[in-house]
Amino acid sequence: MKNLNTIGKSKKKIDALSLATGSAKFTDDFYVKDPLFVSFLYSPHAHAKILNIDDENAREINGVVDILHYKNVKQKLHTTAGQGYPEPSPYDTVLFDKKMRYVGDRVAAVIADNKQIADDAVKQIKVEYKILKPVFDSEEALEKDAPIIHDENSYMPIPVKYEPEHNLAAEVEIGFGNMEKGEKEADFIIEKKYSTHYASHAAIEPHSVISYFDEMGRLVIITSTQVPFHVRRIVSKVLEYPLSKIRVIKPRIGGGFGGKQEVFLEPIAALITIKHKRPTKIILSRKEVFQSSRTRHPMKLTLKTGVKNSGEITSFSLNALLNTGAYGSHALTIVSNAGSKMLPFFNKVKNIHFIGRSAYTNLPIGGAYRGYGATQGYFALNQQIDIITRKLNLDILEYIKKWHIRTGETSEVFKALGEGTEGVTQTIHSCEMDKCIDLGAKEIDWYNKRKKRITTGEDKVRGVGIGFSMQGSGIPLIDMGAASMKMNDDGSFNLLVGATDIGTGSDTILAQIAAEVLGINLDKIIVLSSDTDLTPFDVGAYASSTTYVSGTAVKKCANKIKTQILKVAANMLNSDEKNLTVANEKITDTTKNKSVTFAEIGSYTLYTKDQFQVQASASYVPKLSPPPFIAQFAEVEVDKRTGKIRVIKFVSAVDCGVALNPKLAEGQIEGAAVNGICYALTEDYKFSKSGKLTNQTFNDYKIWTAADMPEMKTIIVESDEETGPFGAKSVGEIGINGPLPAIANAIYDAVGIRLYHAPFTAEKIYSELNISR
């Protein structure tokens, strides 16, 4: 990039020191006087009707203020999915229901003067249940005689297929060309079934919310959310409380990964504050986060590909079935995304059929999770390509390079699949997939290791595998980001953005964009983000949208500011605007060799002559969603005696356009990759026969520590995305797609075992090895 001051530099994250010294505040760190505490009673049954709740004994306990349940809270159908409006998720949820749909479903809430009293009182609530037959498997749930999970009046707010009477939470279907013809043209057909499993986002900060009335009587909600503006809207609608009287503040957020794109605690806290006129605090325990927040949707995928001996794919059929659990949060869009992110990758395929369905079951609720269906889809696709290329004895890397979508090319899928509606037509403006593959392969030493089955000591064999993918950058024509800026008398600027920094560093990135446009140092930009009273709107932190969408809004806004200050400078210097250049916090007339500093301009506009506030605002709705591309490589070692897998090295080579802040971009990839690696190997939800989650602690649900880490290498392969701010695309999600298939493919490379069903435990590999012996 040419002559940039701030962009492309690894600037320190502007909130990092306050976080590293512990002074930055997360939700639970805010002091409120004399708050009410909340404990929830959860259903012990996977499927049941509540016949009666007797809360009399509990209410008598000293310190108990109230108990909420279906008998005393209005049943207003809504979705907890924090998406654009109307949400493409079914309205199948009420705050407190009479029907219980999984172990962990919310029965009642005890409100008390302290947490201990609330916890004790929960045990005193008597509930009479009528136990119903549960269904746990997504295929069984769609069978004719399956128990119906949503037999009330749930509905879909947008016109798409929704059949709760068949446990069908969503369905999407597209097709191009002629499948029959495509299959006939093929020399052989490969049809395989794959499945992925449950997982917890496991953000280290649990879901937290505080609500209170401020001194003016407005309802303030401080919450650990990715979607503050959606929180305001959903709370207003569910409680039928004026939106204008609600202020949502997003403080520092302790990780999200999609798990905090859900609005399921804020309405309860707000309801209690409104009812009892007291501050309210809800902080979930780790057990509650595992059981009763949101999860990654498990998915079953059947891939059927017709292939010529040349390697050309003549037909491509994908059947994806998502288990959405008890409620349909993101049920349509995630299964749709499995197709929309995966199908365009090999865009030369002419004959395509995709059907995606989501089934309700009596298990924990799915939701948005980094990767959002693409992770599940690419797990299947990468193994399918590994199978095809091995059968044809082709080099998989050369194969991917030959057939992937390229700059200037398009795919019909972009137009066909959007967020519950049609998508948009787009051509690819930037794609460095080949370079990602080449540099990644070099780093992992692919050609010296692939198919070599290098042994290291007795019974230990090594192998390498690849996981390629593409994602998107925001949701075109739906996502919206906005920014406003004003100039201060010392030449500094306040930058107000709705965009939601949940630890990603978006406050820093957006400040870098503004600083670059104005030719000033980063410390002259004072960022305030995500306060619904103070900042403009933004849909929030999801769909890999912040840099591309909100970043463009900031760039537009800063350009408007620049126009204003150039005009002022022209007056001050008595110059023609044409002769002015902006750099180093001043504006210079090159013909006169005279300049004014930003501080002089700021002071002039506020105090001297023709005073006005230099200020601007801008919004941006993307027309496109340019995909970033990634090639990820795993080297694994399998112990043939025990089935134990060790990841030796993991390489990610990513094209995210211009990395506006390379260190932060690397951090996104590294974090996503490690999340993906432990998802592949150690993370899973284990259920009892009656559907109860049995591993709801960090002791039993293993996420990796530094001691488990393989050698990690991240390579940023720059491209210039002309539609993005300073050439940027997204980077937040894509890194989680590769580990699952790369490790599966590497295990095959090492020991010839094909693992269609994740996660890849030692037990699974041990038993497969013994079967194949």
Partner: protein, 158 residues
Amino acid sequence: MEGTFIINGKEKTLNFNADERLVITLRNNGYTEVKNGCSEGECGACMILLDEKPVHSCQIFTASVQNKNIKTVKGIGDLHLPHIIQNAFVEAGAVQCGFCTPGFIVATYALLNENPNPTEEEIKQAIDGNLCRCTGYVKIIDAIKNAAKSIQKERASL
């Protein structure tokens, strides 16, 4: 109950319940830099130094540590006078959401006090009691290596 503690070098008298865990007592008394991520001794967000040893404060009864020396991340360095380790985390890009960071800083401080020149393996073992979901640990390990170097350099120049 009432008890006296030395917190970040200052003697403090605090009220607490008999069965209260230290993380709760500290947070209730304004030491919100001590985070609570799991209450089960696994995530390490609540890590503090107890007589200079790193411990999960959610696993300690407040009543059992009266008159002892407690140091939180703010006692290591604050916004106005940050410690080398804190600066190293900032520089390396080791802070993403930052919820786990105070615990990592405490673990690093304890490590480098005992072992100013740790190997990568020793670093990994020293932070094995701390979970981070954002960074993938790569930049945290970089930060600790850089902090060790800076501390050695500083000592050499004294």
